[in-house]
Each structure stands twice: as C-alpha cells, then as structure tokens.
C-alpha cells in the first residue's frame, strides 16, 4: 500500500497524539503506530504533571528547580518556555475533560515530587498518564485523526537531504507500506528495553530515535539515562515517586531512614539520581537487604489514602509482590526508567534533518539536561508535542509535493527478504538477553571508564553477532519474532551511542556518575554531546548549553 499525507506522525503516545492534533489544525495528518494508541506507554505514567498554577508558586521557581535538577545541563530558554506553557497545558487538558484529582475547593490538586521546592505536580490519583492520555485519545477520535495502527516503522525515506516519508511493516499482514509525507514527526518514546532491569514496557526499544539516527539526524545527551529509585523487586514495575510525595520513606536493612544522610533537607523527595545512588551505596556497603534492595514504607499513610490516591500501587503490590503495602514494607530497587537523551531538536521540534521533527521521550530539546525531574516528562510531551506538530504543518505548507524515493522501499524489502531466508544462526533472543545484561552491569547508576570500555567492546561483538542471527518464525501474519528482531537492531545502535557518550564525558553530572571522575567539571563539560551515526560507530560532536539567567552552582538538597 502507498499512502500520502502532508504530515505523518510516528507514535501515538502523548507526544505523538498531541503533535497530530496540532498539525491537523493546518495540514492533512496521519499517525503511524506499532501499538494501538491506548497501548502506548504514556498510559503507564503515574505520579503527575508539573505546572506552577498555585498563587504561591511561580514559573521562575519551576524553571529553577528544573534547571538545578538537570545539574545545569538543560537549555534554559527551552526550560523557561516549557514552564511558562505548563499552566496553559494543564488547563487545556482540564477543559478537554481530564479528570484531575481535586482539592476540597474544587481546584486541581497538586502533590510534592522529587527535587521541587513546591508541591506542583498536578495529578489524577496515581494514574495521571492514563487520565491525560485518555483525554487526548478521545480528542483524536472526535477530530477523526487517521491512525495506521500496528504498523512498525522501519526507516525514513530521504532524498536530496530531506525527509520524504517512511516505510512501515504492517504486522497484521506482513506487508510493507510506504507513507509519503512532506514532514515527519518522530514520537516513539523510550528505549528502556536495552536494560535488564527497567520500568519500561516491552515496546520501549527506541525505534524512532534509532531510525532518525541512521537517517542522519543528530542525537543529544545520550549518556544520561535515568534510574528510578523505587521499582518493585522482581518485575521492576514502577512504584511512583508520588508514594514518597505523599509521605512514604525509604529504610535500609537496619531500619534507618538513610536519605537523611544523603539529602538532609529534601530527604526522600530529593531528585532521582541522588536517591538511586544512595540506595546503591547502602546496598554496596552492606546495609541493603539480601538480594540487593531496600524498603519503602508507606504504612503510615493509612489504608484509606493508599486506596484512593495510590490505588495502582496498592494493586501492584498485591498482584506482583503479594504484599499489602498498608501493613507491609515494599521491597524496592533502582531500575532504568527514562531516557534524557534522544533526537536533538530545537524549541520547535526541528531536527538536523530537514523535514524531520521529533518530540517526547525519544527526542531531546534538552529540558531535562542530565537528570529529569519527575512529572516534567508528561509536560514536555504535551508542550513540545504541540509545538512540533505546528512546526511540521508549517514546514509542510512551504514544502512542495515530492516523489517518494523508490529505493527506500527496495532497501527494506531486501533487508526483510535476507533475514527471512537465513536458515541458520543463533536466535536474536540470545543477543538481546546479553545486551540487557551488559547494559545493566556496566552502564548503570555508577560508571567507570573501565566498565564502559568493556561495554563498548561487548556491544561491538553483539553487533557483529546480530548480523548473522536468525528468526524462528518466517511467517507473514503477526510475526512478533520478526518485529523483535528489528527492534533489537534499534536497541543495539542506541546502546552504542549511550556508551560512546558516557565514555567521552569524563565528569559526574546528574544521572551520569563516573567513579573515576566523581566531580562535576563545568570548565570542561558544561556542554552537550551530540552523536552522529556512521558505519564505523558513533561520531561525537559538542554543542553549547544555552544559559539565560540561572548561573550554574553546586547542587545541594
């Protein structure tokens, strides 16, 4: 099938749908998504969305907390823009129907979140992502947004240095389709599946980010991977920071509230990078529980609050750990959670590749710098998703109608034919498991040059093996084996980018903690690393950090 739209959005999560709704105001737009929209991971977001809507709060304070949280690596003009837009975003979603939790006065309720001086996370119990996403989904149904669902995008079509559309695999039939477009918005979310321990879903393989990277777009801030302090031991599903925002505390094996030692002021609601490292330190120094975890205590909050404001958490604990958190301690450990880095964009979502725009977790404007604050990601998706959609529509209005380069389709056809023909070789599942192991062991919360170099060498070997892996299933209909094989290629390319940047950055900043370079070094490293794809591996470049009015200083909590 060949279809044509002025703008095509890849991804139907919060960022993608918001981009599509915005672009649809001025252009003919369609969405391509490998999942049915409501299966997107945005629905899993729990805790909240930040906006300074209380009279006692201020945009400046939101911006300052975000920039300080980023360890001064965020681009300050972008942060200010996002924080200014935040109240509009939240009110718009409320007007469209989002069911936020309310204060007794009937206003939108807000709670404390890590690294913030004011309780500014607007929430809908502990299902904020679902509440926001459903509203957007409903709007997209109302607006009749065209969605090609269960199409896995494989590549961008590029000609004369500009994007002309994309090639996708239809899971239901196994056919390849082309979507010609004047502008493409990538919004394919996170990449956590490259880690063994992650809060991310099976679908988080960074597809769009890898596809854009291979097509020539620059990636940014790839060394900064966020580890959430509190994932449930076992399945690593997330226990929201909101649990601590409501008053939950962390305890080590001796029952000590250890965060008092690491962040005397904010304690259990310090930023994520700090708490994750504190937990790992407790465990490494023998104060963790056997098997490597600590406890989260939310018992004092009482059953009533837990069942109403932390209802999902209550359910998770019972379903996945068989415990009642109103009476028992929750076993938690850090796990990969979020990717700060992604396709490098400007404040309008434009990338280094003409016609390609990006938004959401797979993009990097750099509003999070080296460490994202909780509840800023949903905000980023809605704020920059809209801007990217608008900019893509404006770009499409200026661009002409160009032919779709046939070679783009041919290339994917050959690639699929080759892998389907291969009868012998190890299964790609083995390579995936090793990749996830390497990333968890060597590219985690604490890093060293030695580990990273070993990881780089290991990844090069895994790439080599990937070239000769085989499938178990060569069928056409719903071939999940083939999809997983394609996704693994994306994970591998991005893992190499993460490791190359992490090895390069010889300092500790935010989520990137090098034991061999424990200090932050503004002199040398107050800058972004950009990453360009080459067949020989990632090529690194540098870009300045944009500073407006917040001078970098030491980060204490």
């Amino acid at each position: 099938m060949e279809v044509r739209h002025q703008v095509v959005v890849v991804g139907a999560g919060l960022a993608g749908l918001r981009a599509a709704l915005a672009a649809g105001q001025a252009a003919d737009v369609a969405v391509v998504s490998k999942l049915y929209p409501v299966r997107s991971h945005s629905v899993a977001a729990q805790g909240g969305i930040n906006a300074a809507i209380d009279e006692r709060d201020s945009l400046e304070s939101h911006a300052y907390d975000t920039i300080k949280g980023s360890d001064y690596l965020a681009d300050q003009d972008a942060v200010e823009l996002m924080c200014e837009d935040a109240p509009r975003v939240v009110y718009e979603m409320e007007h469209w129907g989002t069911l936020f939790s309310r204060t007794p006065e009937g206003r939108i309720a807000q709670r404390s979140f890590g690294g913030q001086e004011f309780p500014r996370a607007c929430y809908a119990a502990d299902k904020t992502g679902r509440a926001l996403f459903q509203t957007l989904f409903e709007r997209s149904l109302k607006a009749g947004v065209r969605v090609y669902d269960e199409w896995v995008v494989l590549s961008l079509a590029v000609a004369d240095g500009a994007v002309r559309g994309l090639v996708a695999l239809d899971l239901k039939t196994g056919e390849l389709h082309t979507v010609a477009a004047r502008a493409v918005v990538m919004a394919t979310g996170g990449l956590g599946l490259m880690y063994q321990r992650t809060t991310n879903p099976y679908s988080a393989t960074g597809d769009g980010t890898a596809i854009a990277y291979r097509a020539g777009a620059r990636l940014k801030d790839m060394e900064f991977v966020q580890f959430h302090p509190t994932s449930l031991v076992g399945t690593n599903v997330l226990i929201t920071e909101g649990a601590r925002g409501e008053g939950g505390i962390l305890l080590n094996a001796r029952g000590e509230r250890f965060m008092e030692r690491y962040a005397p002021r904010l304690k259990d609601v310090a930023p994520r990078d700090i708490i994750s490292r504190a937990i790992e330190t407790e465990i490494n120094e023998g104060r963790g529980l056997p098997g490597g975890y600590v406890h989260l205590d939310i018992r004092p909050l009482g059953l009533d609050l837990i069942r109403h404001r932390l209802s999902e958490i209550y359910d998770f604990c019972r379903t996945f750990a068989g415990i009642d958190p109103s009476r028992e301690l929750i076993p938690v450990q850090p796990a990969q959670h979020y990717m700060m880095g992604g396709i490098s964009t400007d404040n309008e979502g434009a990338t280094s590749l003409p016609g390609l725009f990006a938004a959401g977790e797979g993009a990097c404007v750099s509003v999070h710098g080296s460490n994202r604050l909780g509840a800023n990601s949903l905000l980023e998706c809605l704020c920059f998703g809209r801007r990217a959609g608008q900019a893509a529509a404006a770009f499409a209005a200026r661009a002409g109608e160009e032919a779709f380069p046939a070679a783009a389709l041919e290339e994917q056809r050959e690639r699929l034919a080759a892998i389907r023909k291969r009868r012998q070789g190890e299964h790609h599942g083995v390579v995936r498991r090793e990749l996830r192991g390497v990333m968890t062991d060597k590219v985690g919360t604490f890093r060293t040059g030695e580990d990273l170099a070993a990881a780089a060498a290991e990844l090069a070997r895994l790439q080599e093996r990937y070239r000769s892996v085989a499938l178990m299933d060569t069928g056409a209909v719903f071939n999940a084996d083939l999809a997983a094989y394609l996704e693994l290629g994306n994970s591998l390319d991005l893992a190499q980018a993460v490791v190359a940047c992490a090895l390069e950055r010889q300092e500790s900043r935010g989520a990137h903690a090098r034991r061999d370079f424990p200090q932050r070094d503004d002199q040398r490293w107050l800058k972004h690393l950009l990453c360009r794809y080459s067949l020989r591996g990632p090529v690194l470049e540098e870009a300045p950090v944009r500073i407006t009015r917040f001078t970098p200083k030491e980060r204490t909590y």
Binding site: H41, L238, G429, R432
Partner: protein, 244 residues
C-alpha cells in the same frame, strides 16, 4: 515448582486450515506471570507464537486472553495460581475474529466505542481561563474516577453473554465510557449520546448478569454503571410521559 504444561490455541490463517492446541512444558519460577511465561516461550522455544503485550503491569490492556476459559490479563495472572492441576490453557478472547494464535481483531470494539461519542461535550458557557471548579462529594468522584479506569482490554466483551448473542450490542466498555461522561458534571452531551444509548442495542440490551463486573481487571463495576444509565433514561421517559 514442578514442570507444568501450557496448552495454547494456535492458528495462523496464512498457513493453517484449522486451529489446533499446542503443548509446551515450562518450569515456573515463583512469581512468574502468564505473560512472562509466554515471553520466555517465544524467546526460547517457539518464536512463531503470537500474542500482544506491552506494559506488563495491567495498564495498557494489550494482553487480554482466555486463561482456563476466563477472560483475564496475562500480565496480572500468576502461573502458580492458574496452573491448578498442572495445565494452563490459553485461548484468544471469545467473540472476536482471530488474527493469529492469541491475537484478535478488535476493530468492532473500537467502532462501538466511537458510537457513544466518548469525549467531553461541554455546555454552551465559555470555559474559564483556569480550570473549571469541580466539587463532587467524595463518593461520587470516586465512582467517576473508577469509571474512567477502563484500559480497553475487552475482557468484559468476551464474558458478556449478550455480546455473544447480539453482535450489534454496544457492550460494557463503550457503555462505561458513556457513563463516565454522563456522570461528569462538566459534560452536557446527553442529548447527543441518547441515540446510541437509548436503543435496543444500547443500554437496554444489558440484562445484569454481572459477568462484565466480575471480569474487569480494573475492578470497574460495569454492570452498575450501565444500570445508572438505564435509570437516567428511564427517568427521562417517565418525565416525558408525565408531560404528555
């Protein structure tokens, strides 16, 4: 735990003339969910096994299937609990065309959802600059919040006896969605939704068997929500009769 059997419905329309069941043996670790077992099976034993999954935490609604005959989410079902006599039987959701193995075509489900106009239809008064105030008694807010918990997994459709007999029936999830807006004080769309709801294949098809409520993995009382819609419509009919 000892080895147990997974008995899985297999059907690939492009290769198979008819469906069959295939047996797999697995050795479950404590805490293993049916979904994790399926993922392991696919990665280690049989890459051709088709099922949907994403969040693995009961939030995205991808992996509804019949587990020992009952519609459930694979990610929220423990193998140890399902294994009972040593065998877990997995089949695609009842009432939907099978695309392959455990994957069904949900198009019909989505079309029904759209028919209830599942979006906020505000009244004529302009929206305030800030949020609309919303002061609902705690219990009412709770009911509304519960009704908005639907993850579109379609377990309720697979269990509903009316869905089985009347293909055109809107069904529990679509009606719960309608209730979620009808009960929202910010919504004024009753008149626009009435055509779909006040119809033999709308709310009146429900005969309160409560199978939807039992099946819902998010513990939404779907049957109760449908009853609320019936009451509202019945009250309106009585009012209209009274006026006439």
């Amino acid at each position: 735990m000892d080895e147990i059997s997974f008995r899985i419905f297999r059907f690939d329309p492009s290769r198979d003339a008819e469906a069959r069941y295939q047996l797999y043996r697995i050795r479950p670790e404590p805490g293993l969910t049916v979904l994790s077992a399926l993922v392991n099976l696919r990665e280690e034993q049989d890459g051709s096994l088709a099922f949907r999954a994403s969040c693995r935490s009961g939030i995205c609604g991808s992996d509804a299937m019949l587990i020992n005959g009952r519609a459930r989410l694979a990610c929220k079902t423990q193998v140890a609990e399902a294994a009972g006599d040593g065998t877990v039987t997995l089949e695609p959701l009842r009432g939907f065309p099978v695309l392959k193995d455990l994957v069904v075509d949900q198009s019909d489900f989505w079309e029904k959802l759209v028919r209830v106009k599942p979006w906020l239809i505000p009244g004529p008064e302009p929206a305030p600059e800030r949020e609309r105030l919303m002061r609902l008694p705690a219990q009412q807010f709770d009911e509304l919040s519960r009704a908005s918990d639907c993850i579109f997994c379609a377990c309720c459709y697979a269990e509903c006896p009316m869905e089985g007999r009347h293909r055109a029936y809107l069904g529990p999830a679509a009606l719960v969605k309608a209730y979620r807006f009808e009960a929202d004080p910010r919504d004024a769309g009753s008149a626009e939704r009435r055509g779909a709801l006040d119809h033999p294949d709308g709310v009146w098809r429900c005969h309160h068997v409560f199978r939807c409520t039992e099946a819902c993995p998010k513990e939404i009382d779907a049957a109760w929500a449908i009853q609320q819609l019936q009451r509202r419509l019945a009250a309106r009919h009585l009012r209209l009769k009274g006026d006439a």
